[in-house]
């Protein structure tokens, strides 16, 4: 694995006090917070910052990291000794390889969490595994029809000697029909392994939608732009529209303008309470590139008493 300089990540000196580290961390968290940051790589940066602070923010972990990192430079190959870090927690799912590998050999320290609920008895100590949180990106089509998506996670596994090592695991996940962004899918027993025979934790997957330039989603409602010709908008028409749930025949009312919304009730995401599909009409002008087209536009200009700027006083 490559050595990572967590001090560099947080922009502090190796001699920084715990207080300096905390201040630097908070400043960076604010700067790169995905909800407010305009940086394109805000998510990745936040992850790096959190990973660095997970180690440097804890005096014990920092001391061990300093010990190991002596003489190493960022990007250099790095192998921790086999008995490294036996007293530390794991990083969460999604943390970087370097962090995971540093802390992967270890038995886990009982945390104060409800999940910890350690039971000592019969000479053994049992503790359920921690839950893992990750996100899974699905297409809008999966939300409409259901489907199977794969996700790769690095998950700790017990080997034959009872040691825990990080393993890449590819999971195929059934996506139920009707899912909406932000919903959580719980997979029992797919989290961190338990300790001393305790049950494994659960895996929680937050549903995210892959962007699709054709559609926009708000909760269970779906919005779609539908281009129409000027005569379809003016005279009304029956048009075929490709929607996420298939092709539908839609009536464009006469006198429609760009921006008119047509609601197709229940044709949004088929959740328990199905959403609606909104078709946003956009009038598209044919180009005046041929003689005939120009003639037609000139005839309209001549024969129609039409002032599009009447309402703004022109």
């Amino acid at each position: 694995m490559e050595y990572k300089d967590y001090y560099q990540t947080l922009g502090v000196e190796k001699t920084a006090t715990q207080d300096d580290i905390k201040k630097a961390y908070r400043k960076l968290v604010r700067q790169y917070h995905p909800d407010v940051s305009k940086h394109k790589d805000a998510d990745a940066k936040t992850k790096e910052i959190n990973e660095a602070y997970d180690v440097l923010g804890d005096a014990e972990k920092r001391a061990a990291y300093d010990e190991l990192g002596r003489g190493h430079r960022p990007g250099q190959g790095f192998q921790p000794p086999p008995d490294w870090g036996t007293q530390f927690d794991f990083g969460g799912a999604g943390a970087d390889d370097f962090f995971n590998d540093l802390f992967s050999h270890v038995g886990r320290r009982a945390r104060g969490g409800a999940g910890a609920g350690g039971r000592a008895g019969g000479g053994g100590f049992q503790m359920p595994g921690e839950d893992i949180h990750a996100a899974i990106a699905v297409d809008l089509r999966d939300a409409y029809q259901g489907g199977t998506r794969t996700i790769s996670l690095r998950i700790p596994q017990h080997d034959a000697q009872g040691q825990v090592t990080m393993q890449d695991k590819t999971l195929s996940v059934n996506i139920p029909q009707g899912v909406t962004p932000g919903q959580q899918l719980r997979m029992r027993g797919q989290g961190h392994p338990g300790f001393g025979g305790g049950p494994a934790g659960d895996l929680y997957l937050e549903i995210q939608l892959n962007p699709d330039p054709r559609y926009r989603v708000e909760g269970t409602h779906v919005y779609q732009d539908v281009p129409v010709a000027p005569w379809e908008a003016a005279l009304g028409a029956s048009i075929s529209v490709q929607t996420p749930s298939g092709t539908v025949e839609v009536t464009v009312p006469p006198g429609s303008q760009s921006g008119r919304k047509l609601r197709l009730k229940g044709r949004g995401i088929p959740a328990k309470t199905p959403g609606d599909l909104y078709l946003m009409l956009t009038v598209v002008l044919p180009p005046a590139t041929s003689d005939r087209a120009r003639e037609l536009y000139e005839a309209m200009a001549r024969d129609l008493a039409f002032n599009p700027r009447e309402r703004i006083g022109a």
Partner: protein, 106 residues
Amino acid sequence: MHDDILTGVLLEDVALTLDELARACNVEPDWVVRHVHAGVLGEGISVQVTSWRFRSNDLARARRLLSVERDFDANEDLAALVVDMADEIRRLRARLRVLGVDPHIG
């Protein structure tokens, strides 16, 4: 590498109990109880603690509250205000997208 096909349950279909939510957040149940009683978690939840049930929104909100509290040593009201404001930003950005505006450019 494994290739298991997993079927999960949505928290909208089978909601979490108090203990399950606490475990999913790696906190004591008391943390959840305190935040529900403070009115910053579990909107519309029943009075009876034993019948408390938490869905996707509650889990995401609890984890975000926890992260603000831990990152900034914030108290629960301040953390709730930050999370509420972030929610409002997300809602407005989603609205902008619906209206055809890229919120990161517009």
